[in-house]
Structure formats: structure tokens, C-alpha cells
Symmetry: C2
Subunit: 326 residues, 2 copies
């Protein structure tokens, strides 16, 4: 088993990622003091910058990192941050990764407005730079993200969700922006269509794997990796794949007992019992298996690219994502 860390994986583009921090700060300078303060707070720590790292690695794997790569990486990170800020509003989350959320520190109003600002700023960055292809790619991703979340809300409400439907939801919710990050990297390096398509497929599969691993970690309770308490999805009555698979496998009596507890305002004992059932019926294991499948498919997509340190790093990135499983 390899021991990839995000640090080691992104080594080939480390200088660009350093420069990226300065670039984003320049992009986010505004004449509104409150906005500057909130933006400073959101971007003050380096963060993981998973998606920009994918943009830089994709560009490097196709050719050269250029100014266009910085523009694309910034768009993706601004849009991603906008969705996090809005997520915390709708979840009434007080914390994100151990720090107070924007809605907790300021207000819901400020959080909604800053999210809108970041969405618009990301898209305007592309119009200023005349990067029309980036706009096509990212505005499409934002649309996919919000409509997939809405589909999830609806399917959740009905407590009726097939495995395929769930995969469609996370394809929009999480994978669309990963795919956009990789495709934009390729476009920024003037990649030929086959490479661009391969990196888009890679990004989508990696994004699905990433979300499935997140779903698993919610059950296996590796809090330190997630920066949030275990069973958060269960607590919020969120149907995710481990639970769906467990439900498929239960007998009718067990399923109806499970759903009875899932539907009500559950207490700590309910949570523990439900989490145990999900593990016992193999929901976690089967989801891990599927995450691995998508991770491998992502690696497979990379075979289209010529060998390079950046391509190797993208291979390792897939391992890094799956490694969080162990």
C-alpha cells in the first residue's frame, strides 16, 4: 500500500500552488470592507486546494501551466467555496473543519450574499479574461450541482432512492466540479480533444470516488479526517450509498424497523443502532468496493496521456483518495 499524502501527490505543481495563493488574494480584493474581511477569513488558511491542484496537474500533464491555468483554477475554487458557504447556511452548520462558519460568525444574510458574490466573481473572472470555454464548463457545472442537490432533497423526502439515482446525484453534486477542474486544466494547456476528454472522465470518476469515500467515512467515523462528527449524514436524515445498499439487503421486517427509526427524531441509541445495521448488512463494504472501482476507472482514463511526472501524480491522487478508506 502506498502512503500518498496530498503534499507528496501535488509536489510536481507545488510552485504553481504557492503562486496560486497570491493570485487568488489579488482576484478577491474588493472595495467593500466587510466583504474583504469575510473573503480573508474564507481564504486565510491555505486549505487543501484539492480542485486547483487537479487543474494544475491536468495542465502540466497536457503541456504547460500558463496564466490561463491560474484563471481556471481560481474559478473552480471560488465556485467551490461559494457552494460550501451556501451549504452551511442551509444546514445551519455552526462549524466547518473546526472553525466557525460564515453564518455563525456573521449572519445568514452575509453568508448568502458572499456566496452569491463568489459565484458571480468566479464567472466574471472568466469574462474579464475572455475565457469563454471555461465559462461553458463551469456554468454548466454549477447548474448540475444545484439541480443534483435538489434531486437529492426530493428523493430523500420520499425515502426512495435507487443506487443508480444516488450515483447520478453525486455525479452532479460532487463530480461535476472535479470534472470541470480537470477539463479546464487541459483546455488551459491547449490539449487536443482526446486528452481533454480523458481528463474530464478522470475528474468525474475521481469525484465520484471522493464522495463515496466521504459517505463511508461518515459511518466508519474517522472524525479527524472529516473535521465533523460521525454519523452526520444519519443525523441529518441523509440517504447515502452505504445506507441504501444496507436497505436493499435487509429483510422486510428489518427494513421497516430501520425506516421507522430513520424517520423519527432519533436519539443517540437510534443512531448507534442504525450505523451498526449499515455496517452489518455490508453497506459500507460495498460502497468501499464501488469507490475503488471508480478510482481504478479514473486511473485507467489517464492511459490516454503521455507519461510525465504530472500524470504519475494524478495516478497517485486516485490512490490518495482511496487511501482515506483504510
Amino acid at each position: 500500500m502506498s502512503t500518498a499524502t496530498l503534499q507528496s501527490v501535488t509536489a510536481p505543481v507545488r510552485p504553481s500552488l504557492e503562486e496560486f495563493e497570491r493570485y487568488v488574494r489579488r482576484v478577491l480584493r474588493t472595495p467593500v470592507p466587510l466583504l474583504n474581511l469575510v473573503l480573508w477569513y474564507l481564504f486565510r488558511r491555505r486549505g487543501k486546494r484539492v480542485r486547483p491542484a487537479l487543474t494544475f496537474l491536468s495542465a502540466a500533464a497536457c503541456g504547460q501551466i500558463s496564466h490561463r491555468t491560474f484563471v481556471g483554477a481560481a474559478m473552480v475554487e471560488l465556485l467551490h467555496t461559494a457552494t460550501l458557504v451556501h451549504d452551511d447556511v442551509v444546514d445551519r452548520a455552526r462549524e466547518r473543519r473546526g472553525f466557525p462558519s460564515v453564518n455563525a460568525l456573521w449572519s445568514e444574510r452575509v453568508a448568502v450574499l458572499v456566496g452569491d458574490y463568489l459565484l458571480a466573481r468566479g464567472l466574471l473572472l472568466a469574462t474579464q479574461e475572455r475565457e469563454w470555454e471555461f465559462l461553458d464548463i463551469t456554468a454548466g457545472a454549477v447548474q448540475q450541482m444545484s439541480s443534483a442537490e435538489l434531486r437529492h432533497v426530493q428523493l430523500n423526502r420520499k425515502l426512495r432512492l435507487e443506487r443508480e439515482q444516488y450515483l447520478e446525484v453525486i455525479r452532479g453534486k460532487t463530480a461535476a466540479l472535479f470534472a470541470a477542474a480537470c477539463e479546464i486544466g487541459a483546455v488551459s494547456a491547449d490539449a487536443e480533444p482526446a486528452l481533454r476528454a480523458a481528463l474530464r472522465r478522470y475528474g468525474e470518476d475521481i469525484g465520484i470516488a471522493y464522495q463515496l469515500v466521504d459517505d463511508v467515512l461518515d459511518y466508519t467515523g474517522r472524525q479527524q479526517l472529516l473535521g465533523k462528527p460521525a454519523w452526520q449524514d444519519l443525523r441529518e436524515h441523509k440517504l447515502t450509498l452505504p445506507l441504501l445498499i444496507a436497505l436493499e439487503r435487509m429483510g422486510p421486517a428489518e427494513r421497516s424497523e430501520f425506516l421507522r427509526r430513520f424517520r423519527r427524531q432519533h436519539n443517540g441509541a437510534d443512531l448507534r443502532w442504525m450505523a451498526q445495521q449499515v455496517l452489518r448488512w455490508g453497506g459500507v463494504e460495498a460502497t468501499q468496493e464501488l469507490a475503488r472501482h471508480y478510482g481504478e476507472r479514473a486511473q485507467h482514463a489517464l492511459e490516454e496521456l503521455p507519461p510525465s511526472p504530472a500524470r504519475s501524480a494524478l495516478q497517485e491522487f486516485a490512490e490518495f483518495v482511496l487511501q482515506r478508506l483504510w
Copy 2:
């Protein structure tokens, strides 16, 4: 005094506005049932379509309405609707114009996501149609809107706001999208730069007048015109121009009594007393005066354009906006 109605003012572009309703419905068709339902709800009634009417009139005043005019008008209306839906979330508003808000009927989550979807859909419409200038104009307007709202939040919190600062806030909050609506109309008719600039100025001034009239109506309590209870701004501790002007004119003792009441959780008696003070110190009258000034300046900007029924309609539109004052 003329008796312009929105119906009579928009007569020269009535067929286009009819067609616009069908066009918007086509644009908003999605494969997500919940999203379709919410969008149907938001667009089910014809609404006032003030901004699209300005787009069509501006195009007609410069030349011909074209498919591009429809694209631009739809962008503006989608972005406007997005901001209304998000406003209702942050204001925890249960109603809008007498009907339940999206957050009241569904949830805050659904409202935030639908708002994001509409923002992205509006901008994506332009990328699909390769209308890069429209994107420049509207993404800039969205950025101005959210940053002006944030400035307002901040200035409100400090209870310190100069008249000039307030005008800057509404220039971003309300007037930016009016300016965008008119400018896009001109661009869609391939207007020469001088006409385009004139219509942009017209839109901005009309937008400021429109907001000032709204601020006045909140104090004069013409509920039927606003579709919301009187003194809503006071209730929400919102500093608007009538109040700012009244504060400027009060003596120190009155001002501190006013601010004492304004700051606390005020009751019905406080509201009535404060509203009376704002009227007594001429805050409402001075704001009416300023609204008229901007309305006239808007009409003046139109002199750049050749005479036409559409230009006359835009002149009347300014009267229609101000007429709500009486």
C-alpha cells in the same frame, strides 16, 4: 399629471412580452421534477416583468427587437428572480406579494439551491448563445448587487450612513440590474456606443428613482402598491434615505431618543413614533424630491435617442415610476 400604467407604458412591446413568457418557460425546462415545480411556481404568474420590459423597449428604441433581445431579457429576469428568492431566505420572509415564499413552501435549502440554479442558468444562457457582452454586463451587475448589499449590512450595523453612501448602495443593489437591462437591450439591437451609454445611464437613474420611491412607500404605507406591510424597513432596522435625512435634520436630543428606540427591539408604538418623526423632519419629502431628480435625469438621458414610440414609452416609464409617489 399623467396616468401611466405599466400596461400602457409597455404597449409598444406588448407582443414581445407575450412571446417572452413562452420563451422563459422553454429556457427553464429541466429534468429535475422538484426544480420544475419551484420554477413553475416562481414564473407561473406573468409578474410585472419590469426589467424585461426595459430591455425590449431599449432594443426597440435603438432599432429592432431580435432573438438576442429575448436572451438578454431572460438573463436579467432570471438573475432578478434569483436575488428575490435569496432575499426571502435571509429575511426569513414567509410571503412575497401576498403568496408564500419558496422558503416557506419548501425549505431554506430548496430556496438557496434554486437561487443558485437561477444565477447559473442565467449566465449559462449567455454562454450557450455566445453572448459574451451580455455576460460582461450581467456578471458585473450581480457582483455589484451582492457587494452593495454587504456594504449596506455593514453600514446598517454601525448605524452610520451618509446620504452619499446610501446612494452608492442602491446604485449597486437596485440600479445595477436596471442599467444592465437597458444596456443589454441596446446591445441586442447593435446600437452605436453613444446610444448604448445613454440607455445605460437611463437605466441606472431609473433604478435609483425606483428604489427611492420604494423607500418612500415604506413610510407612506401604500401597502397595496408594495404587497408588504408598512414600515417593513423600520421593523427590520434598515436605514433608508427618508430616515437618514430625518436623522441629519434632528437636534442632538431628538436624534439620540430616535436612535435609542431604533436600536432596541421596538414595539408598535415605537414604530408609529419613529415613522412620524421621519415624516415630521421631512425625510419622506426630501426623498421624493430626490427621486424626481433622478427620474428627470433619466428622461434627459433619452434625448440622445431618435424619437420613436419606444423612446416615448421609456419617457413614460419614468413617469410611471414617480407616479407611485402620489
